[in-house]
Amino acid sequence: MSAATGGRWRSGAGIAVVASSVLVLVAVRWASDRAEHALARRVAGATARYLALVAPPSRGSADYDLPRLLIETRALDGLPGFAAQLEVYHGTAPLLHATARPLSPAQFDRLRRHATARSDGAATLAPLFDRDGWDVVGVVAAWPAGAAWLSWRSALAVLPSLAAGALAAATLGGAPGRSRRAIRWFAAAATVFGLAAYGDIRAVTQDATDRWLGDTRLLMQEAVVRLPELRFSLAALAPIAPGTELLPADSAASAPWRGMVAGTARAAVTVRLAPGRWAELRTAPGEGEGWMAGWVAVAVCLALLGPCAVALAAWGERGAARPQRQRETVAAWGFLAPSALHLGVFSFAPMLFVLYLSVHRWTLVDPARPFVGLANLGRMVHDPLVWVSLRNTVLYALYVPVSMILSLGAALALNRQSWAVRVARTIFFLPYISSVVAITLVWQWMYQPDIGVINHLVSALGLRPVDWLGSPRTALVAVMIVSVWVQLGYQMTVFLAGLQGVPRAYLDAARVDGASAWQRFRRITLPLLRPVTLFVLVTGVIGSFQVFTYIYLLTDGGPLHATDVIAYRIYQTGWEFLQFGYASALSLLLFVVLFGVTRAQPMLLGKRADYA
């Protein structure tokens, strides 16, 4: 029985080992296909624009002179080093290979309607516009090169991975220690295989960029041969390859190369315009795109599916003796799956993403997002606004103790049952439950310097009126007053809940012994409330360090950054200045500060409590 089930687990694990390897290869092939298709689309587009440039128009029409178009097209076929596989159609008739199948009218119609390059079956079709750039008169079709299934690199990497997988599967049912070691080896081999697969994807993408650069270079050189005046006007030549840079250069190297230009990665090739005259054609390298990082994750994760499956099989095989336990584990993960997935995607992944972002320059407008190392951190240290906002955040947090004293007093006074007490408790809770925006609106109204009711009260008391939100000296205090007003009811409710845990008997006994009300509070109630006080303080400070809405609505961080807080800095950096990399660095700063504050508070309070 046991041997038979062990065999089943083993063969299942073996299948999983092979399946995960195949999955990785399929992913590589799919990615390579995508790169080849993208290349074909770009080459077809460049060829179409080349033909539009060099083929003369027929007399009295925007269409091309057909014999000349035929000649130019045929010339492409004999171009040495031209890598792309092409067909050019005028209307639906093939020009390059006279015996090729004509385009179907439906395909031609679709292209005329969409007027952009698109994949159609195996080929990629790009529209050939007439001289006016108005109507589609022809089609350039490019066939993507077939992607290879297995490079020598993946072949070298997949063999050890498969072997380690087979060994790991074979250890199932044996000693747990041995199978655990084998699975670990398998995981290592699979990771190497995943990285090799990523290397393949990268190589194909890089090669596609190179071939595109090579072909475009040839097209440009041909264009210069046909129309010699183009050699003096790069601007007329550049439309062959839109989205790239074409600049004068003084190098004769013919192979594509890679380099950094103004902080962004570029792939470039030299175009020979005339003896002694060169231009440099630059484009964003395919392998430098942001999504390539995603392929590392995909390849490695797919490769690691194998070890995971074997580990799962090992666990299943071991647990077969205790079916109840196993059922419970499976059920538990079933119950946890929704929340675990969500936390993974929207909490843990963002946490890692923040780390990644904080060492990059990242904006929504510029697709180049270069690695900048600790530059964001350095900028933060030298940014006076950051220090101002940190100071303001700390000052703002001082409202917490103030409202704690008020709320503790209210809780002590309301710690009994009567209708008046119930009404009072409800009233105190109202600000906490109401709409934040409504609250800020009414406070803004009351804080008005000339017609506000608060200044009216102030002058009725014989004091000088204050421009509460408009003066840098009082703005932060004004926001803190609103915060005290809002938080009072919440903190009071927590204190009231805590006061229920103070036994009446202690207080009565103390009273019998002649302790005064203050002594009873100081010696009995306060020490027993310590955990509650700590909770209110810690959660209050955590909340106050993240204050945003009150600042945003009451003062916009002003006047003169007097109420600029760290959360407001993050918002402004990210959503007004669109610097998400720097905003992430600020987020990390907030996280570190909060972590420290949260850790420090219980320690500080603990010491003082022990001392007393």
């Binding site: 059922r327 993960w333 119950f335 972002l357 007093g409 009072a424 105190f428 809770f429 925006v437 009072l488």
Partner: protein, 272 residues
């Protein structure tokens, strides 16, 4: 005699504090009913000479407030359903099922509470931006579907349910899902209601995430919509107060209906 005097003093002080707490609300309502120019007089009038209820009609038609309320209701309802469902399931696993690494996983969950929401703002926004979810219900809802606080609250509640009831169901051959659905959930309705009420109010009041996750007025939630009204009529205080009253009233009604759940939520997740 001194005791009585002290109690009277405490009562007076608390009454004063309570008056200061409720005064802004009363003043909000009073201003909402005033004439546009009446409020500019000095000394500021505390009550309208003649009530102007038409302020509400004018202010509430200036922007599509109906749409704002509808958006908020949709988002809040979806989030409540999502949070209650995911929290109850996760809490059941943590409170009742034994599996290897349970405490470590629970600790990992709780560690999310250590991460302030503001820190996650940038990456979450970039994620929904990459998925094309900015300015849509999906973007507003998707990030809010799980509440670790809710998981904690429900776990505390599930732990207080006697195991005997479930064991009886298990003896009768019930699976984990049946026990969860037929025994545990019906017994914890108050806790589920607490979570639902607080999640609903939180969504209704949420400001920062709707501010950055939406762009158009059609997708605005109530708070952001009202904030944009502030920019529109920044000098007409009666209109602004009319809008503020409209924003507060649903929440206050909700609070009076569900008051005990709010208090219970604070008590349950307070310090232990």
């Amino acid at each position: 005699m001194r005791r009585v005097g002290r109690r009277v003093l405490a009562g007076v002080l608390v009454a004063l504090l309570a008056a200061a707490t409720i005064a802004p609300f009363l003043y909000m309502i009073a201003t909402a009913l005033m004439d546009e120019f009446e409020v500019l007089r000095y000394p500021p009038p505390l009550l309208p000479a003649r009530p102007h209820p038409e302020n509400f009609a004018v202010a509430l038609t200036a922007l599509p407030f109906g749409r704002f309320f509808l958006n908020t209701a949709i988002v809040a309802a979806c989030v409540v359903v999502g949070q209650v469902a995911t929290s109850a399931m996760a809490a059941y696993a943590f409170a009742r099922l034994r599996f290897p690494g349970r405490d470590r996983v629970f600790f990992l969950y709780l560690s999310v509470l250590m991460v302030p929401v503001v820190v996650l703002l940038v990456p979450r926004f970039l994620i929904i931006n990459a998925l094309g979810w900015v300015d849509s219900y999906t973007g507003l809802i998707s990030t809010e579907l799980v509440s670790v606080w809710g998981i904690f609250l429900l776990r505390q509640c599930f732990l207080t349910i006697p195991r005997d009831l479930e064991d009886a169901a298990r003896l009768d051959g019930a699976g984990e899902w049946t026990v969860f659905w037929r025994v545990v959930l019906p017994l914890s309705k108050p806790a589920l209601a607490t979570l639902a009420v607080i999640a609903f109010a939180d969504q209704w009041k949420s400001f920062l995430w709707p501010l950055i996750a939406t762009r158009s007025a059609e997708m605005s939630m109530v708070e952001v919509g009202i904030a944009s009204f502030h920019g529109l009529y920044s000098t007409n205080w009666p209109y602004q107060m009319a809008v503020a009253v409209t924003a507060v009233v649903p929440l206050l009604v909700f609070y009076f209906v569900a008051q005990k759940y709010f208090i219970r939520g604070i008590e349950l997740t307070g310090p232990k």
